[in-house]
Structure formats: C-alpha cells, structure tokens
Amino acid sequence: MGTEWVAVGLSRDLPAGVAMPALWQGRELAVWRSASGKLSAWNDRCPHRGMRLSHGFVRGETLACIYHGWVYGTSGSCIHIPAHPDLVPPATIKAETFLCVEAGGVIWVGAAGATDTPPEFAGYVPLRSVATQADAAALAQASGLEQAAQGLLGSTAAGGVCLILSTSQTKTTIHALAAKEADRVALSRWLDGVVRRAEERVLA
C-alpha cells in the first residue's frame, strides 16, 4: 500500500551531483545524488557543528560539508577531515541516514524497516514541486480534486493531475504529477492558481 512512505521531491529536480533540502515527518533532511546516481537522504545536520548538509557539495561519491569541509561517503560515514588529513575518522562520526528510494520519478523516504514499496502512479509523469502555507483541506477545496490515498486526484481543463501532499508543521509541499497526455505548462499555471486561491482562504 505504500503508507509508510512520504514523498520528499521529484527525480527531475535532483540530477547527479546535486544536494537539496527536504522535509520528512517534521525532520529536515538533505537529499543528494552522487556522480554515479546513488540517492541518499540524511539528517540535514553535519555531525561536526550542525551546518546544513543540504548546503554542502557533491564530489564524486561523497558529500562535503560547506563549513569545514568534512567529507562523507554514501554510507553516511565521515571519511575525511581536511584539518586533519592524516587522521582516519572514527566510525562514530556518521550522518544519520534514512531509507530513500525512487519510484515513477518521485523520491520517497520511508521509516526504518519499512517493508512495503512506495506507491506507483501508472500513467502519470512528474510535473513540479510547490510549497504552500495552505493545508490539504484548503487545497482540496481550491482544486476541486478528489481525495486519494496520498493526496488529491482528478482532471482539469489542462489534463489529469495527481497532487501528492507532504505536510509538516510549517507548510504543505505539493509534488504534482501530470497525466502523460496533459499540457504541462497549462497544468503548472493551473497549480499556481490553486495555491493562490487556497492561501487566500487561509489568510481570510
């Protein structure tokens, strides 16, 4: 059923060599893709002094913190400390890692030990991710879409759309998927309108 999984971003927004921030159940994550394409999701805090690892940079199969340059391998373990180049970092210096997979162009993070697989949306392709102050109820009302397991589903003048909603204390992130034959530009503009209308309700 895929209920143990939360969408944190779209594959198209995370090419090889890029790190980006994401939210998962109220936790700040750094999600990044190595040069060879390996995906990782970590707590967005450097074990050294807590700098956001999503501000770091990918070199090959490693993520380096932007602050003092500590280098972490895809397992999360620190493998190099520039200020002590001859030191082999102790195994205890390790970024907290999360279960992270891609399915249908969506990046999912699951609870430790998640046994099922993330949901698939056959016939849909990733459109874009948008964050809003509006909640799921306001988005449902403004969009006119039907409630579905992971969010909202339905058709618009621009074509079919599926909005996967990930909520945190501060915002709702919408990961929008478009039906394969939909007009992506028109759907993207429709989504901007939905967000504006839903937020007007929140602020009213």
């Binding site: 971003g9 779209l10 198209r12 927004d13 995370l14 090419p15 060599g17 890029v18 980006m20 921030p21 999503s54 940079f57 990918v58 070199r59 380096a64 932007i66 340059g69 520039p82 180049p85 874009r128 991710s129 948008v130 964050a131 915002k171 992130t173 992506r184 530009v185 993207s188 503009r189 901007d192």
Partner: protein, 213 residues
C-alpha cells in the same frame, strides 16, 4: 573603465560579474558605503547626484543604473542581449523584474544586515511573491529543455536577477522550496569566468579539492 563599488552590494556585484563574464577589466574604486555612508557625501554626489552605487565611468560616459551598465558591457562585447523581438522584449521584462527583486529581497537583506528601516514582513512577502513567479517561469523553461530566463543561453536578464535571489537568505527568505531556481543558480554559478562575492560561491564541484590547493 572605472566602477565605483561596494563589495557587499548586490547591484555592484551584478556589474563586476557581467564584466568578468565578458572579459572586461574594471578599475574598482571602493566606496565606504557602510559605515562611512560615503555615497551620500557631497563629493560623491558631485559625481552621482542620486548618491547611489554603483557608478560606471568610461571616458565621457557616466552610468548610474546597474541595468544600464549590463546593457553597455554586453553590447560592447556582443551577445547576452537576447536576439529577435520576442527575446529582446523578454530581457527588458526581466530587467524590470530585477528592480522588484531589489525592492523586496534586496531591501530585506539591507534590513537584516545594515538595519535599514523597512516593513520587514512586507518586503519579505513581496520577495516570496517574486521567487514564486521566477520559479514558475523557470519550471516552464525546463519543460522546454532550457535553463536560463530567456532563450537558450545566458543573457543580462539572468545576471540582473541572480544576485538578489542568491542572497535572499541574508534577508531571512529561504530558498529551500524552489527546485528550478536552485538548478538555474547552479547553471549561472558554473558559467565560464564566473566570479564570486561574499555569500555567493562558484560551484565547489568545479574547484580543486581543498587538499589539492
């Protein structure tokens, strides 16, 4: 070519960046914008009565608007202006948009860094509106396989808009929620001859590893 310059100013950086990208050498004259307020002094206003930075002087030409300086540098070098009626018009649209970025994200940064007296909530809100417009536009560009604001390559539109967007976190406006803006900034930061300013870095991936320096 002389640029009267303040290193932390987003507008001055636009001009330094453009000059670097087209290979134009600038003679930088540092102006004590903060804390000296030298740009408001009588002698500086003899040069630029508006009392603003940057100022570009090339022989008899004196320019006091950073977008005008971008036009001058780009036209002299060739390219960067958008070709054809549609692209040229769109470049002008983004130059006007860059003024909105300055009045919103730019003012939020001046408030947080130099205590400018502005309605901080209002300028941040206006800044978020600008970022959303930019994100939507860049998302559409990516649907068409493009990454820059106008056409297939970088133009002065990108250079005019980039600094105040990249520096938005200095004014308390986060960039976390804008994936297309993130990839657009990466494309700009990896341009050949790109230069940095405090708070804006070249793509680290393109630099030698620190231990190799």
């Amino acid at each position: 070519m002389i640029l009267y310059d303040y290193v932390l100013s987003a507008s001055c950086y636009k001009v330094r960046l453009m000059a670097a990208l087209v290979g134009e050498r600038l003679d930088l004259q540092a102006v004590d914008f903060h804390p000296g307020r030298e740009h408001k002094s009588a002698s500086f206003r003899d040069l630029n009565p508006a009392g603003t930075l940057p100022v570009l002087v090339d022989g008899d030409l004196l320019l006091t608007e950073s977008t005008a300086m971008l036009v001058y540098l780009a036209t002299k070098a060739g390219g960067w202006m958008g070709s054809g009626a549609v692209n040229a018009a769109q470049v002008q649209g983004w130059l006007a948009f860059s003024a909105r970025l300055g009045a919103s994200l730019g003012m939020a940064r001046l408030h947080d860094m130099l205590h400018y007296p502005v309605d901080i909530a209002a300028v941040r809100r206006a800044g978020v509106d600008c970022l959303r417009e930019l994100e939507s536009h860049l998302t559409e560009a990516r649907f068409a396989g493009r990454i820059f604001l106008v056409g297939d390559g970088p133009t002065i539109a990108d250079i005019a808009c980039f600094p105040n967007v990249a520096l938005a976190p200095d004014g308390g406006v986060a960039l976390d929620d804008y994936p297309s803006i993130r990839l657009w900034m990466r494309a700009i930061r990896s341009l050949e001859r790109f230069i940095e300013m405090p708070g804006i870095h070249r793509l680290h991936e393109l630099k030698p590893a620190p231990e190799a320096v």
